[in-house]
Amino acid sequence: MLNRRDLLKLSSLTAGSLLLPAGLRPAFAAGEAITIGAPLPMSGPFAANGKFGSMGTAMIVEEVGKILDRKLGYLEIDTEGKPATAVRKVQEAMERGVTMFSGGILSSEALAMGKEVAKGNGVFITTAGADEITGSECNRATFRWSVPTFGAIEQTVRPLIEQLPNAKRWYTITPQYVFGDGLLNAAKAIFKEKGIEHVGNSYHSLTEKEFSGYLTNAMAAKPDALLILNFGSQSSDTLRQAVSFGMKQRMTILLAWASGLEQFETLGPDLMEGVYFGAQYWHGIDSPFNRELVAKVQAKHKMNPNYAFASAYLTTKLLIDAAAKAGSTDGPAVVKAMEGMKYAGLTGEEEIRAADHQVIKNYYLLKGKAKSAMKDKDDYADIISFGKSFQSPEEALCKMA
């Protein structure tokens, strides 16, 4: 008979394997065509993001069709959300002649892949969040489209403090690792500058699912505003539980790093009404490029583009445009063409800063709408404000090798 020790051993082995695999799925074979690698988590907990990212890349590749007299294709690479798998499969793709990569949703996989692509003299653009990507671990081959933690806080906490002069006491809930601390430090700097009392912070682990204990601490501190600094399903869980504790009626809630439509669909208007969200992208952005994209996606897929879709579409487009401009798919040539590139992007005029390869773009403060005020099924939020805030490459600690 099985004893408890064996059971434990087996359970630790098997619980992990429930989150497992799938392979490298070539959408087009690499050959004479120019192939763009799309390393995305196509399986595992982040598979939904991967799926939409892949759709975005597929759409722009199909749309452009051909550059430099060669057919365009893409290679869907399932990273499984794991850095080691991502690196191995990117290596394989590079051996098959792929030089340009757009993908990497999780920071850990993006950091690992960026280094690998740099070693192989390729070019990589990502939407992952960690500051290090264009900060202390920046490199020649890696570009990042999304706004880092500093800008996300500057464009959400600061305007909200200005809108709510009576909210003098803020409480924060933070995941304990570099990303969370990046957001928290940026928020603390603004609190200090504006004379806001930071009445408390709860750190939690990255695997936490139950936030009622932390919310109880938050309520006991009687804040005017609750600042939620985790992301993905953890931020959804925190918000859901905060609303169930009646906190929405007692204080203003800001979720500084929301994933946009993907997340709003899981939350729904009942939870979102009156809550503030920070977002990299929203399909309601009033820019020519975005309006065009929304119309195209609605026509082709009968849906509005979400963050994963739109950002993959744009970042792949940047690689294609740069290769066309450089007249080559050679990594260093494409990198050179991308540095300093200015273009009409999803969030309006965007620019790729040459010194640290960070795209300078807007970040948005949204406010959740009541169900009765929604004009269509995706009209979850209004844009309250937006703007560009970035540390200098030196402040971000980027020393380009």
Binding site: M1, L2, R4, R5, D6, L7, L8, L10, S11, T14, A15, S17, L18, L19, P45, A47, A48, K51, Q176, S202, Y203, H204, S205, T207, E208, K209, E210, S212, G213, Y214, T216, N217, M219, A220, S233, S236, D237, R240, Q241, S244, F245, G246, E262, E265, T266, L267, G268, D270, L271
Partner: protein, 284 residues
């Protein structure tokens, strides 16, 4: 005051953990069967309630139906598949039930998508209970009350009824029970369905608290095993005590040492294994 908050909150969490773990424990106690698909039944319970409320079905009807449907599906699975592998070593149980769990998880993704969703608590329980500075969601209070009633009912079922006597006797010696003319095969199916139905009910009750997403079963399975290991495998009272203990530790630690709230649960489990290898109330 804050510790009173955390204590009540911990009891609320603990009762849900108990509900989740007791099914696993009973199944192991009687069938000596390691059921890694237990989390999948929890997942199904949650998604059934989600699906029904999305279709406009009353939450209460969903709460009643979901565990019944899950129990039915579990009985079918037991009769068609699992019954055939009871006599095989535990590694086969794990192989088959992990496969089953993966199938259910993928099926959930195919049917409802990979993104997940939200389940609103019923309107009558949507508010908060307030007593001075003490604020607690009404729905969570309801969950504490309901699980308490269920715990008493289950205790009576296992200790005070003929079925309970058979189950307890069966966990000691199935051969002896068979010799007494009791159809142990049917009892096995009933117990398996009961255990899975309890997991389904835990999922249905947790849906308005946690929302639903396709990977929630894996997390639930982890917690259920922790509770069962601490409480002792096959023990009803052990599952209750351990469930409450885990819930309260998790909640109180959120005030004392938030970063370590989750770590403490596993540390606690480690301590129990070192000092009481059979768990708090486990048998040899």
């Amino acid at each position: 005051m804050i510790y009173l908050f955390q204590l009540v909150n911990g009891i609320g969490l603990g009762m849900l953990y108990f509900l989740l773990a007791v099914g696993l424990s009973i199944i192991f106690g009687l069938l000596h069967f390691v059921n890694f698909a237990h989390g999948a039944f929890y997942l199904l319970g949650a998604y059934l309630v989600y699906d029904m409320t999305e279709r406009g079905v009353n939450f209460w009807a969903g709460l009643l139906l979901a565990p019944v449907v899950v129990a039915g599906l579990a009985a079918l699975t037991e009769a068609v598949l699992l019954r055939r592998i009871y006599h095989l070593p535990h590694t086969f149980h794990i192989l088959v039930t992990v496969g089953l769990a993966l199938m259910v998880q993928e099926l959930v993704i195919i049917l409802w998508g990979p993104v997940g969703g939200n389940v609103s608590p019923p309107d009558v329980l949507g508010g908060v209970f307030m007593l001075g500075d003490f604020i607690y969601p009404q729905y969570r209070l309801f969950v504490i009350g309901l699980t308490l009633v269920l715990a008493i009912g289950l205790w009576w079922l296992l200790e005070g009824t003929r079925l309970g006597a058979v189950v307890r006797a069966g966990s000691e010696s199935t051969d002896m029970v068979s010799l007494l003319g009791i159809d142990i095969v049917r009892v096995n199916t009933a117990v398996f369905a009961l255990g899975a139905g309890l997991a389904g009910l835990a999922g249905a009750l947790a849906a308005p608290i946690r929302g639903v997403e396709p990977f929630m079963g894996v997390e639930a399975l982890g917690i259920a095993f922790v509770v069962v290991v601490i409480g002792g495998m096959g023990s009803y009272t052990g599952a209750l005590i351990a469930g409450l203990l885990v819930g309260i530790v998790q909640s109180v630690m959120a005030t004392l040492w938030p970063e370590g709230a989750r770590l403490m649960i596993y540390l606690g489990m480690g301590l129990v294994i070192l000092t009481m290898p059979r768990g708090l109330l486990g048998r040899a």
